[in-house]
Symmetry: C3
Subunit: 270 residues, 3 copies
């Protein structure tokens, strides 16, 4: 009973996600396929890197995650197959698995190049359907990653600098908005672990902590939406375990002139 | 072969629906999950109450419906588990099940509070994933609702006033638009039963019935889209069994300056 | 292990796709349902005709495809059931299967009229739920198409003229944009077979081929996105096997003042 998840920037309006499922089910008729999201902003590899890191642990061990945000499709960029933390990942080698690979040492990393596990015809524009989905389906049938391509060191994969928020020498955290959800919540790259390690945790000392959005907005750091006055902003740890800026019963995206990449800082007041 | 449906205001762009499925499938690997809709307008409990009432009877008896529009997430609002009309429902206790509960006396109503059936870690912002989806999964495995929480009377659940259209003493029906669909149809809270009980049925006496949208627009009450001139408006009983205002081959939402909450009245002309 | 696909213009915001699944699963609890797309532009039968033609071959033989773009719902337009190329199709008889039926001679064509295989109550506005989904479910259980309705000749079905690009006497191809995808790619009705049969193939003689969008824009015909300068346009064979106009790392829809129905011509320069 194999499970395969899909995370892409394909949207749901076109047939792209449906054809990845066609490719999988043509190979493994009994695979269970779960859409994590097809709403990654077009070609936003960083957003996808954060999403898959925080989503995959909710799935059972052994799940195969196909993650396709692939601005380099058609070039000679590689495609990676990874086993780490009891899960499998198939994705373009463009840094998208960077945060997943921080969580533990991988069991195995390969560059997928064995065409026996791809569709016969490979387009120049849709390797999600032609390579990654079929490879995931074969993996779900028990084919080993080591048969699908050349093993490489995890360190040989492409990496993206500056994914996570940084800690300054004087103990401030400097991050940014990396996604805006349907409710207008501004999701940052500042994890609760980062806050904890910097001693900037809540709720005990929440009153002393300042969250700064952009250069102007100082926002209260609270525990839950309802702790803010209705229609007023707050910062809180969201469901991903990352700092989010929200508006109680409203949209932070509409409230602030802030979008993706807007800087967010956290420090101690006074 | 358990079936679980999801109805939320989470949209499909973010990972929220996918993580509810992860939580379910981690507990019951063989559950069949069906998305009814994730497109409820953000925090519109009323819209969801109508949708689930009209959608659930199309599913087989024994289906478990998880309905999450939850502006009170993180507060002490309760979560309800209900068995009624041969179906199960899990939802925040905020009135969202009000119309379902009008259909029949429930077999059992509980407030879910047994943490044994939730995820270990419960966030302040996403009880759909952390509480309601896992509870539904355990229910699908045969756990009884009575084990999941404290039994309460149906009358103890939160209710919302004025969900349904009202009947005036002089025999007029006063309702409103409660949803706008993808085609621009304006869906009202005036059911065909309400029209029938007021003697305002079609098509026999359709010519004598007036549908008034807002304060200005009088609209013909017809049987099907094609009965109106192309690009002209009509009122008809839509697929939910509720009065809808449509434009043949067009969008009523674009045609009229009308949106959600616009009043709709039905009476007899002359 | 039956597979049923859905292709509609219902969007994913409303409950329409979910209720088609309810109707199917109420009849065949073990059917696997795959959404190909619910994002066909509202009532755009032509767009759907192209999508299903290019999508269905990725599914296993025996798959049942339900295709619902149905501006004539509620009128006396027929509903077609077709077996062709090892697949089954159920759709309104409005030309939507026209391109699928060009691929091969059908085994059988029927007009669905046996109410034993429909839901008991049939609305005037949603035959996808009330007729087509239930018929597909019965088909997936082994009921033969011949039992579901009156056999007719393929030539008796409604056809739409001018779906495919045309070849002029002097060897030019005249087509148009028929869809715009999430990335802003302009998908045309010019197939790679059409280009090949006209001797307008790539990449060997790509330099000599001109692609003209509208009356003003001449666009390079290349093999892959990365062959164009970033943020510059190109034409290429997309994942459907049709000519597409794209912008490397950008959106052709935003780049050009071009939308659906914009003419596209291909000829040899000089």
């Amino acid at each position: 009973m194999a499970m395969i998840t899909l995370t892409t920037d394909f949207g749901t309006g076109d047939e792209y996600a449906g054809l990845m499922k066609a490719a999988i089910l043509s190979i493994n008729r009994s695979a269970t396929i779960v859409d994590i999201s097809h709403g990654i902003d077009a070609q936003d590899v960083v957003q996808a890197a954060f999403l898959i890191e925080t989503a995959f642990p909710y799935f059972p061990e052994g799940t195969i995650h196909v993650v396709v945000v692939d601005p380099g499709v058609g070039t000679d960029r590689a495609i990676a197959g990874v086993e780490v933390s009891g899960h499998f990942f198939i994705a373009p080698d463009n840094g998208i698995l960077g945060m997943v690979l921080e969580s533990a040492d991988p069991e195995i990393v390969v560059r997928l190049d064995n065409r026996a596990f791809f569709l016969d015809r490979i387009s120049a524009t849709f390797h999600g359907r032609d390579i990654m989905a079929p490879a995931a389906a074969h993996l779900s049938l028990g084919v080993r990653l080591s048969r699908m391509g050349q093993g490489v060191a995890a360190g040989d994969l492409v990496t993206i600098e500056g994914l996570r928020a940084s800690l300054t020498p004087d103990g401030k955290i400097e991050g940014r908005v990396i996604a805006i959800d349907r409710f207008g919540n501004l999701v940052t790259n500042i994890s609760s672990e980062r806050l904890r390690s910097a001693g900037l945790t809540q709720p005990g000392n929440a009153g002393a902590i300042r969250v700064l959005l952009g250069s102007r907005h100082e926002i209260d750091f609270l525990s839950r939406y309802a702790d803010a006055v209705p229609n007023c902003p707050l910062a809180l740890i969201g469901s991903r375990g990352y700092l989010e800026i929200a508006v109680n019963s409203g949209s932070a995206h509409a409230f602030f002139a802030a979008g993706k990449t807007t800087p967010v800082r956290v420090d101690v007041a006074g």
